[in-house]
């Protein structure tokens, strides 16, 4: 069996960024639960910011952006992490997924994750990220992970487990979804014969 391919996309802008930190934690949580070896890759959108903007203007991706998009769309599982900017995912995060070809993420198992300065924005997972991936027809794992600044130090409280627990649960869920994704049939580049297109139009 070939190694399962896990890709994390982080839209964090700082160096180091807490989004990248969360992406790494999640990646590790998934990898540990996968059967056999996994091919793991983290893509930092900061490195592709100008390429993403250019692709929006020209309509086609630069070679390195194309390579990153292909890594994402050919993955067996995706971890998507964004900082919260102005009450939602960051513009760069959204723009990257805007230049991915329509339909390319259909059926993709995804863990959504976000970081922010306060826990008050944690619903961004369910109000912004989940609907976006639902539109892209991805399969979003039940557990999303939101990390506020305080989560990096605390051990949870009476009502909430620590960040590590949520990371572990999300990792388990994504790891469980990935083998089925890897076994998907690859659609051949088949053309619809022209007679069929004509026949479909006959009154």
């Amino acid at each position: 069996m070939t190694a399962l391919r896990l890709v994390a996309v982080s839209a964090g802008l700082g160096r180091p960024s807490s989004s990248r930190l969360l992406a790494d934690r999640l990646t590790e949580a998934v990898r540990r639960r996968l059967p056999g070896e996994a091919a793991v890759r983290v893509i930092e959108l900061r490195d592709l910011a100008a390429d993403v903007a250019n692709a929006m203007v020209t309509g086609f991706p630069s070679p390195r952006l194309r390579e990153a998009i292909e890594a994402v769309t050919e993955a067996d599982g995706l971890i998507a992490v964004t900082p919260v900017f102005t009450a939602s995912y960051s513009g760069l995060f959204k723009s990257f997924f805007d230049v991915v070809e329509e339909g390319a993420l259909a059926g993709m198992p995804v863990v959504v994750a976000a970081t922010g300065g306060t826990a008050r924005h944690s619903l961004v997972l369910d109000h912004a990220l989940r609907p976006m991936f639902a539109y892209l027809r991805a399969v979003v794992a039940p557990t999303g992970v939101y990390a506020a600044s305080e989560d990096w130090g605390g051990s949870g409280d009476a009502a909430t487990g620590p960040l590590s627990e949520r990371v572990a649960r999300a990792g388990e869920e994504l790891a469980a979804l990935m083998p089925a994704r890897a076994a998907r049939p690859r659609p051949a580049d088949e053309v619809v014969p022209f007679e069929q297109r004509l026949a479909e139009l006959r009154p």
């Binding site: 903007a53 250019n54 929006m56 203007v57 020209t58 309509g59 086609f60 630069s62 070679p63 053309v191 619809v192 014969p193 022209f194 007679e195 297109r197 004509l198 479909e200 139009l201 009154p203």
Partner: protein, 365 residues
């Protein structure tokens, strides 16, 4: 092989002067450019079709008819004629009329158009773009080949006993190219009919068009029109030339940086590396254009985009001089070298008439 130019017909301010030509200036400039194309020995002039500012060519056959009257050899074409929002009956009539007036020096390139509002302006829906292209062309194809047509489809009012007039010149319809930037369905359509396929080859990396063209060639053979190498392929291209390549880059950069389609995006250097745009000396343009054959196989028509992004008329005419005098003669010679005899020449009216005569002679014997 044919060489020519295609124009979008945009009215764009010259970024170096801030001056915007009037619609009238732009239209007369397009005519001047077409006449110049014939003067410098090019084979084809093709105009776009648009129905929104800042573009002027909403009525291509009107413009081409006028150019036909003032030229002798130039083949007049389009890039593209909207098969989705034009009535196929009117396309059949307009281009047959133009064909008569131009003595057969006419073909056309069909495209869907990607300006959303144009569809509702003409009573159509962009979501049915592909079915519209399929059905409308199926009707157009019959109108030019059958004297009396009974027809019923999904998108247009039915026809009973309809004859499209005038009938095509010598009973041979204008050759049709199908243009597409991204749709395999259109490559398949071109292959099915044995028509030409034109890849605009401007805004995307070549790998993208290689996939479309190889699909078209393969399906052309599948439908029994010939070998894959005999499929009829046209390519776009975009160049700006000066004797010294540094001068070309310096002069073209402000036009590139502010171009309506890709301006304010990647650098000129990145864009020339990633797409077929070539800015440099005539020799660089020759070398780059010759690589198209390696990428796409022997092909029949090469069109260059020369007059856009606000380039002044004087500059465009200078570019055409360089193209006609220094570039195209070398390209003709080099493309002819090692070209297999089995690869067809670009389709002309005379060639199509001769082919039909040969076919009916073969059928009669």
């Amino acid at each position: 092989m044919q060489f020519g130019i295609f124009t979008v017909g945009d009215v764009t301010p010259d970024p170096t002067t801030g001056r915007t030509p009037s619609e009238h200036e732009r239209i007369t400039a397009m005519v001047t450019i077409a006449l110049k194309a014939e003067e410098v020995g090019l084979d084809v002039f093709a105009t776009g079709e648009h129905h929104n500012p800042p573009f002027v060519p909403s009525s291509p056959t009107t413009m081409l008819g006028y150019i036909a009257a003032r030229t002798e050899r130039l083949v007049l074409s389009t890039a593209t004629t909207l098969i989705t929002t034009n009535d196929p009956v009117k396309i059949a009539e307009d281009f047959a009329m133009l064909q008569h007036l131009a003595g057969g020096r006419v073909d056309l390139m069909l495209g869907r158009g990607n300006t959303g509002p144009v569809y509702p302006w003409f009573g159509q829906d962009i979501r049915t773009g592909i079915p519209l292209a399929v059905e409308n062309y199926a009707l157009l194809h019959r109108l030019w080949r059958e004297d009396v047509v009974d027809w019923e489809g999904r998108f247009r009012t039915p026809l009973q006993g309809f004859t499209s007039t005038p009938r095509p010149l010598d009973g041979v319809p204008p050759f049709v190219w199908h243009g597409s930037i991204r749709s395999p369905e259109i490559a398949e359509q071109a292959a099915y009919y044995g028509d030409g396929f034109f890849a605009n080859n401007i805004f995307w990396p070549k790998e993208h068009f290689q996939r479309l063209i190889s699909l078209y060639r393969e399906r052309y053979a599948h439908y029994g029109h010939g070998t894959p190498e005999q499929a009829v392929v046209g390519l776009g291209g975009q160049v700006f030339m000066r004797k010294n390549s540094q001068d070309a880059v310096r002069e073209f950069r402000p036009y590139f940086d502010n171009a309506p389609v890709y301006g304010h995006g990647p650098s000129l250097e990145d864009f020339t590396e990633q797409t077929p745009l070539t800015v440099g000396s005539p020799q660089q343009v020759i070398d780059r254009t010759l690589t198209f054959r390696e990428s796409f196989g022997d092909y029949q028509r090469q069109l260059f985009l020369m007059d856009h992004a606000g380039l002044p008329l004087k500059t465009v005419l200078e570019q055409l001089d360089i193209l006609g005098e220094e570039v195209v003669p070398v390209l003709r010679r080099e493309f002819a070298r090692n070209r297999p005899d089995t690869v067809p020449d670009a389709p002309t009216h005379a060639a199509l008439v001769a082919r039909r005569a040969a076919e009916s002679a073969a059928a009669g014997s």
